[in-house]
Symmetry: C2
């Protein structure tokens, strides 16, 4: 799984790191990009994990079904989040210049392998 | 503003409707696509408005800066949300077959005109 996270970060231009986390906010493992060691992706993912849980409940109650992907674009960075199972998600954090489309594609194409190993 | 919402819905393939709402959950106006009259986009947007407020606070506290765009993709539909100002956002709801890229582009290119009229 560590290798998959590394692969995601390496292939996503602008990625600062990727993290596999439970919706309870407990990190399974992470990979931070070279030069982005000061980015605390664990705190970032943790901060979002509880909100994602609420969004999932909202989507369910609105008959949108299970939430699969979330993209949050802010002034100084972007978070791409993919739900892997009822309990786990993977998040990639990009700097301002991140290539969203490519990032989402890389995340999607690696999600199955991550979910398989959970 | 009504015309802009209509324009967004018309130009976004798969769009069920677009709505302009305050973060307090109070709708300003909306446009529902022909044939999607049974979709209660007001309730959907309201359900998300409070969660978006929390996500904005999270992004701020993580020094990601102001939240600009949110995309939520679920099994049966997708929500594209764009923050217009501190108080208002516009949301577009797409059915399962919605074209995300085009939807985001249409929303982005109309956001300035909507914000101007607020």
């Amino acid at each position: 799984m560590q290798e998959i996270l590394e692969e995601i970060v390496k292939n996503t231009p602008g990625a600062k790191g990727a993290i596999l986390m439970g919706f309870d906010g407990i990190a399974v493992m992470q990979h931070v990009a070279e030069g982005a060691e000061d980015t605390d992706i664990e705190s970032m993912a943790m901060e979002f994990s509880f909100r994602i849980t609420e969004l999932r409940e909202a989507a369910q109650s609105l008959e949108m079904g299970g939430l699969k992907d979330i993209m949050l674009r802010a002034e100084n960075g972007t978070a791409l989040i993919r739900v892997l199972s009822d309990e786990y998600f993977v998040a990639v954090f990009l700097g301002d210049t991140g290539h969203l489309g490519k990032g989402r594609w890389i995340l999607r194409s690696n999600a199955a392998s991550l979910a398989d190993e959970l």
